[in-house]
């Protein structure tokens, strides 16, 4: 097997990028490290033009230029360093799935300036959710995966540089018909690609393809190949199922009125792109939103530690525009050497400070955890359960005191859910409020989840990471509007549970029903939570379970 179609497509993508770097903006490569990726990367470095490898911790100064402190100090006058953004180059970003949102946004700005940069994202994500930031991937025309290609099938098949430069010259003269544009736009719509960058990038790709193959105009084959390279990774839906009696309708499921699109290429196009769609398309769609968010906020929490929090001792280091210089520590480091340095440079003004004196401020910021206990105090959860839940919260409070966690308590009964205890570390107050918690009435589970979500959102804006422990028998019988409507209550509950899941709220559902039923397990599944059946819960068991599940 010497010619794998996937590898040929990857090489084709690289060639396209060499021909039209300004228009196509770059490429996302999704592959694990290995000999095939190695082969691809070596082909990448053989492409004409400057190549810079960047990394996820890239600072503003390196990217956009700034003061070169080292050179400034050595020369005694202000010297600015050139950033990567100043000269057009090909930027290669390995481990693209780890890119923090701040860097992604700045690189996106850089791409939007059309200053001639191209960006190659090397995405090594394993799970479907672990992917390069959408802000960037969406701006780059080409997406290549190298899965299932064997090493022997990976010879570098790039055209000679001379051919590429000929194609580059020809590119501007390549013509396309208005129908090509219509066909690509309609095709993007049928795959549920909302962004209008996609058809535009596909058109550029088609023109680059025509230029490589020495044609003066775009052909249906070019359109098909361009769509194969640009659309599959962006598709959010499959085109409507083929209907044998009216095959013409298929390419434009949303708007049959634009029938001037040529039918034939569209059908071929759809077949070609659909064959390349990632297999678990729908699975990825369901979970994408929540998990991407989680990755973003995690990165934010770590980064914040550079700016605020508990101060740590200053450390010598190289200022990168993000860390702040600790002036006092820097001066203290420089002071003992002044007489010596003065004798070496008697005419230097002011203090003589060397780069090695520079100390940077460091902070430590731990994101506090907030455990929200949501306790079912309805009549169906027997009063014994309530007592157990109270006991568990008290035990957790004691642990929280030791770990500096915060705890909040929401109880729900009758028609409403009440915040019994706002986020607190105050043990005594917590115990007092807990002791006075009454029981009885209906089970307004939906209202409880809504209150929890509100509290979790507030907590997040205060820099806490909320986690949820829900103690209930899940027999919801009060709808969100307070009516005793069991069907509506179930509906409201599952919608809110899905919201909890979408927000990626770590949760555990502790089943406190006297007899185990299917409801709590289903609720846990809807919330993406762990389900723990404790028919005879005692406070210590609950407390231990919570501690292990929520990362104790």
């Amino acid at each position: 097997m010497t010619d794998s179609p996937a590898w040929a497509r990857a090489m084709r993508a690289l060639t396209l990028l060499a021909v039209d770097p300004e228009g196509l903006r770059g490429l996302t490569l999704r592959a694990r490290a290995g000999p095939v990726r190695q082969a691809f990367e070596s082909a990448l470095t053989r492409m004409p033009g400057a190549v810079r490898r960047i990394h996820a911790d890239l600072g503003d100064e390196q990217l956009f230029g700034g003061t070169d402190i080292y050179a400034t100090l050595a020369a005694g006058r202000l010297i600015r360093s050139a950033g990567l953004a100043q000269a057009p180059s090909r930027l290669i970003l390995p481990m693209a799935e780890r890119t923090p949102p701040a860097l992604a946004a700045r690189l996106a700005q850089l791409l939007d300036q059309s200053a001639g940069h191209t960006l190659i994202l090397l995405d090594e994500g394993i799970e479907a959710e672990e992917a390069a930031p959408q802000t960037l991937a969406e701006r780059l025309a080409l997406h290549v995966t190298l899965d299932g290609i064997s090493h022997s099938a990976a010879p570098a098949l790039m055209p000679a540089p001379a051919d590429i430069s000929v194609a580059r010259k020809r590119l501007d003269a390549v013509s396309h018909s208005p129908e090509d544009l219509v066909a690509l736009t309609a095709l993007a719509a049928s795959f549920g690609i909302d962004s209008l960058r996609a058809p535009w990038l596909a058109l550029r790709a088609a023109r680059a393809l025509a230029a490589i193959d020495g044609r003066g105009g775009v052909t249906p084959d070019d359109l098909r190949e361009a769509a194969e390279l640009v659309y599959p990774a962006r598709a959010t839906q499959l085109p409507r199922e083929p209907e044998p009696e009216t095959p013409e309708d298929r390419p434009e499921p949303e708007n049959p009125s634009s029938a001037e699109a040529p039918d034939m290429p569209d059908e071929l196009l759809i077949a070609a792109v659909a064959a390349l769609l990632p297999p678990a398309l729908l699975d990825a769609l369901v979970s994408r939103a929540g998990l991407r968010r989680a990755a973003g906020s995690g990165a934010g929490a770590r980064r914040r530690a550079q700016h605020r929090g508990r101060p740590l001792p200053a450390r010598p280091g190289r200022p990168d525009g993000r860390m702040r210089i600790d002036l006092i520590a820097t001066l203290r480091a420089a002071a003992p050497w002044q007489p010596l340095r003065r004798s070496a440079r008697p005419d230097a003004p002011g203090l003589i400070i060397h780069p090695s004196d520079i100390h940077l401020k460091r902070f430590e910021n731990r994101s506090d955890r907030l455990v929200i206990f949501v306790v079912d105090a309805s009549g169906s959860a027997a009063l014994a359960r309530l007592a157990e839940a109270k006991g568990a919260v008290e035990l957790l409070l004691a642990q929280a005191y030791a770990r500096r966690d915060r705890v909040a308590l929401i109880a729900f009964r009758r028609q409403t859910a009440d915040l019994i205890l706002p986020p607190t570390r105050a043990l005594v107050q917590a115990k007092r409020r807990l002791a006075g918690l009454p029981g009885g009435g209906g089970t307004p589970l939906a209202a409880a989840l809504e209150a929890t979500l509100t509290l979790a959102r507030q907590a997040e804006t205060h820099g806490l990471s909320p986690a949820l422990a829900l103690l209930t028998d899940a027999r919801a019988n009060i709808a969100l509007d307070g009516r005793g409507d069991r069907a509506q209550a179930a509906l409201d509950t599952s919608r809110l549970a899905a919201l909890c899941r979408a927000r990626n709220l770590p949760a555990i559902v502790i089943d406190t029903a006297n007899r185990p039923g299917p409801d709590p397990a289903r609720l846990a599944a809807e919330m993406g939570a762990r389900h723990l059946a404790l028919p005879r819960a005692d406070a210590r068991a609950i407390s231990a379970a919570v501690a292990t599940t929520l990362g104790g």
Partner: protein, 334 residues
Amino acid sequence: MIAPFPFSAIVGQGDMKCAMILTAIEPALGGVLVFGDRGTGKSTAVRALAALLPPIRMVAGSPVNAERPEDTPDWATAPLGEIVERPTPVIDLPLGVTEDRVTGALDIERALTLGERAFQPGLLARANRGYLYIDEVNLLEDHIVDLLLDVAQSGENVVEREGLSIRHPARFVLVGSGNPEEGELRPQLLDRFGLSVEVSSPTDIEERIEVIRRRDAYERDTADFMAHWQAEDARIRAAILAARENLRSITTPAEVLRDCATLCIAIGADGLRGELTLLRAARALAAYENVVAVTREHLTQVAPLALSHRLRRDPLDEAGSAARITRAMQEVWG
């Protein structure tokens, strides 16, 4: 750097264009928030707006774009020049920016090399009398958001750090854009934006094709395309300037004030900022349309822009917030 895509050539997105024109007429509106999917032309519109805005007159060399030499703060070291016309500043605030770069800080290079204590102005100084654009505003770090809220409210940037005590005017129009999938905005920051717009990709295939067609024409022959659209851009610019003149003479009938109040009560907007913004936006629109008085039609047109981000969040109402405003208007005004 090539010329930005012309404002008037943006296909559709009427609400977004309207909101941006209104803030250009009445800077006191307090900026625009554009929320929407990727690839819907959010960034394009902001860059286009920068090219569209009428120039400002400022003192050459002033770090805060001061209009008169005496408005320049005393810490400015660069020599001041003549009064010149400059394009309205539109400053990008990148994510991950440090506090130092936003507010300005001790000029480290001069401190270390010359032993001088000098102030290096930040982005807020450069944005004075202009626009401050934050892409992906919902991903901005909290401490930067706090800082912006404070300055946007007071119109003054106060720096008290590293032995410096500096203040300078920082009046700017905030323009934010973001993708709601990636995170929400704090209500306090939401409230600071006068107008908000939700944009989505056009669903009409003809409109989508037109977008691609114009983009293609723009990239193939930028000069020709710009020449074609410049006249239209100039017409909008002239209309904005005329509207700024008209703005003072617009009258507001008492029943329009009552309409504002009843609508804001009906939707349960917090505070009075909703009414004020609604009224200001309606007046700016009336000025843009070159009529003498604000009418209910003006209110109807700007209410979704001025109020949709001031609604209380309702996780179960799947109708968009703009639809909820329209519904409220029908209920209240009949």
